[in-house]
Subunit: 217 residues, 2 copies
């Protein structure tokens, strides 16, 4: 069955790979599943056709036969559960890899996404300039907590897993702020993720789309 994901027709980051379709593309590449992309212009996100896919009006979504999923974490997990390569076989190690998936999305990403709130959602407010350093400090707090984990380890827990895939994807979103580079071992961890051939293919595919080449990959 053909897998079809949705992505922004024009990603707000202009091809930096920070939109959430990149992590799903990456997972698809890691497990070797071909996929097609349905690029959506912003107004289409609010139309009923897309709200049927995702009531929150966001990308990416994932369609495969009768199944339609939203939430990048759920899509990555769906793929990780069905194909080898993203979750360890040992039961406890598998539970820990899944734990890191939730940790990336719940304990790390919300702090980073606050930058978007300050900069864009509340960008016209008088408190923007004074609030941004507070938001940055909360990101640094999380990074300080995560950082020792990767002092001596290549990945979060043994082999590369879906937990690393999501954590690297989430950390990447802090790079434009400069905060990622304040933590050399986190920056190196992200670089290891980016160096994976599957990431390279996913990144190239979203960049090609951002450059106006919408062909299925």
């Amino acid at each position: 069955m053909t897998i079809t994901i949705t992505a922004f027709e024009k990603s707000p980051d202009g091809g930096k790979g920070l939109a959430r379709d990149t992590r799903v593309r990456w997972a698809l590449e890691e497990v070797g599943q071909p996929y097609e992309v349905l690029p959506l212009p912003f107004p289409a996100l609010k139309e009923s056709t897309h709200l049927c896919r995702n009531p929150f009006g966001q990308i990416p979504t994932y369609e495969e036969g009768d199944l339609c999923l939203f939430e990048s974490g759920a899509i990555v997990f769906h793929l990780a559960e069905r194909h080898p390569g993203l979750l360890p076989e040992d039961a406890n190690a598998r539970s820990r890899a899944i734990m890191w998936m939730f940790a990336a999305l719940n304990s790390v990403e919300p702090a980073i996404l606050e930058i978007v709130t300050v900069k864009f959602v509340e960008g016209d407010k008088p408190w923007t300039k004074e609030r941004m350093p507070l938001v940055f400090d909360r990101i640094r707090h999380r990074f300080r907590q995560l950082s020792p984990r990767l002092d001596a380890a290549e990945w979060l827990d043994g082999e590369f897993s879906a937990g690393d895939l999501l954590m690297v994807s989430v950390l990447l979103r802090s790079r434009p702020s400069g905060i990622l580079d304040e933590f050399p071992n986190l920056a190196a961890y992200v670089a290891r993720g980016e160096a994976r051939p599957a990431y390279q293919r996913a990144f190239a595919a979203q960049l090609a789309q951002a450059m106006g080449k919408h062909a299925a990959v």
Copy 2:
């Protein structure tokens, strides 16, 4: 093997069941697993013993033999995967239930938790009064998107699942703000969750602890 979870020794909500141990207690009750509770005073959250359990210094954690997990979503999933009652058997329905777990934690909870940031983390800032209505409106926006889903349905997707368990737990955190009651079908959905015997037992256990009765349940 004994299951031990951590919880606040004194929950900041004084027993309203809004801390994240309640959702884990609820899942344990739904699947009929006995558990013990290790109550932690706030300073203990920053000590190395607990940071080994969870590098982000939060509760709840879950210990069972050699396995130690953090992230309430990951713990609920771990239980849901191992015991019947929280995930449907049909493969597609199961993937959708997991999708709602991620949706509760990633698309709904962060908006609600912003209340904590405005009220407590930045409570002394001059923008608090002007920012709160913006935060409330972003919660309402999410609730408006979720609400139609529960117009005619008892649960998010067929039978009660771990997705409902987390969504109800997350929505509950908006009740003190008054926003939940602005959406009668969401309030009714939460009430259906609260009416489940397993929730009742979980709520009573955390309340007993808040009242100073720390016995294992």
